[in-house]
Amino acid sequence: MSDQKFILYARKFMKNPLLGRRQCVVELVHPEMANVPKAQIKTKLAALLKSKEEQIAIFGLKTKFGGGRTTGFATIYDSVDLRKKYDSKKMLRRDGYLIRAKSSRKQRKEIKGRVLKVRGIAKAKAASSGGKKK
């Protein structure tokens, strides 16, 4: 893939000190590409706003009918810790900061059954898959 260019505009810029971030609407013009990968967007944004790529979360990208134009949202956190604290879990999962416990459906249902049978503190024990009791 040749290095295709795209133009990036950051609009409706707003500071959100409560959540320790800055947020803006991202407009892209990419006549040659169908979609712009988020990584590229992040690099450009980081360069623009003088931050690191790990602190940026991009979401809600929508391409206009006919192609060539995309709009989306971007939240730029002041630090990675703040991001881990305040960002939504969906975005964190996308970027790999949150790992979802991969347990099969069957296992989950078994655990649930065990937990239901017990009352009080013992629930925690059952949830930690203490194995079958007799």
Partner: protein, 509 residues
Amino acid sequence: MPQQSGKKQLSAKKRPMFQDSDSGSEEIEQDMNLQQKFKANEVISESEDQAEESDDLIEEYQKMLNNQSQSDDQEDDEDIGNDDSDDEDMELEDDDQDDESGDEVIHQNGSQIDPKLLKQIIEKDQPELNKILEEYIQNVDNLNNKLKPMMQRVFDKNSGIETKHGMTYLEMKYNLLSSYCQFLQFYMLLKLEGHPNINKHPVIKRLLHIKTLLEKLRPLDQKLQYQIDKSLRTAAISEVQQDIEIDPSQLLENPLNYKPNMDNLRDPVNINEEFEDDDESALGKENDEDSDEDEEEDEGKRQIYKASKLNPVYYEDKNTKKQRRDDMLSKKKMGKSEYIEQLRKEMYDEPEEVHLGGMLNKKTAFAKQMQLMEDMEQEHFKRMSFSKKELKNIRNQEKQHLQERLDQFDDLGDIDKIIGSKNRRDREEMEMDAQLENTKFQKGLKNYIKNNNKQKKGGKDFKNGNDDFSGGYQKKRDQKSFDKKQQFGNKGGNHQNGKNKKPFNKNRR
């Protein structure tokens, strides 16, 4: 008459110099003397006479008047013991003179002293006098100059005014005023005679009573003034124009002769209801009285002016309204159709707007909606989610809007309605049919010509000896059979004979 009784009492208790006129000749003589003195000294108007005569009486009089004006029953206890005894006759309206020398002097010299000085003196000594006198004068004026002539005129039989209802008021007023004057006179008499404990005398109560009555009647008087004047005028007219047969009673009865009265325009029923409504609205309607209120309001509403149904009005059925609305809508749609926009481009000199795609044209409703959605999303920093159906719908609309529609002349159905032509489809079909028919006809014609060129008509070909009157038909038939005979031999016929069959054609089509 209370005055007479009072006088009798006086005569019982004290012996004034001048007694009642009923008593004897002495009084008459003395009266005559007084009168002579009176006449000798003064030939002036009433007011000055009274002011000069009754100097000592004024004080309490005024106080009485003050108290009357304040509607107080209590009065001052200042009893100025006036040894001066004066006699007042009911008939005489003027107060009699004092016998004291000092007063006599003043009295005698009253004409010589300035009235202003007099007034000042009087005010110092007995300020009451002035007021009482004024009061007296006013009432007497009223009596003499106004009421009396009115009464005379009214009760005159020639005037012709009916005296059933309105004139009782006049009578009453007349009586009131006269009695008031009488009481005033008596009061003055008492004062002059030095009656002790005047405050307990019933005269004062009477005076007060009448005074209050008069004051209450004053507003009534004002209201009735117009009526009274009117009646007087009619009386005057009747007097003046006795030759002309104008009936003053008719004049009075005819309401057009009176001036307009705004208060009469309102219905008295409505007025009451209005006030009621206001009160209720202020306080809040009560549930118990709702039904009653409604009834009253309805009745009141019935009395509101309603236009009379004399002129015919165009009747509009409900359907026509709908039709009208539909027409309006269709017209609006028409205005938006591409056809008319093209027309508009031709006609007007507007600058042309070229849109790359439907979406860039921000005037369309769809574009506006999308723009709105975008704004909301960006404001709240999140995307809206749609169901599958909704998404599909949106995509479809987008597609429609992006394409430049060439088949936008479809919306001619609206124009058809207005033009009144048939359905476009029908028209097309008709055209097509016409064309088809034309072609058919053309074809038929061609064939016919061909055939005719080949075979000349039999009837006309006498020269050749072909007596064929069927127009070549028989020949054709004959020829056919002839041809067939040639082909198949004598056996002929349509069915295939012999071996000379046509080959079986698989690909018959």
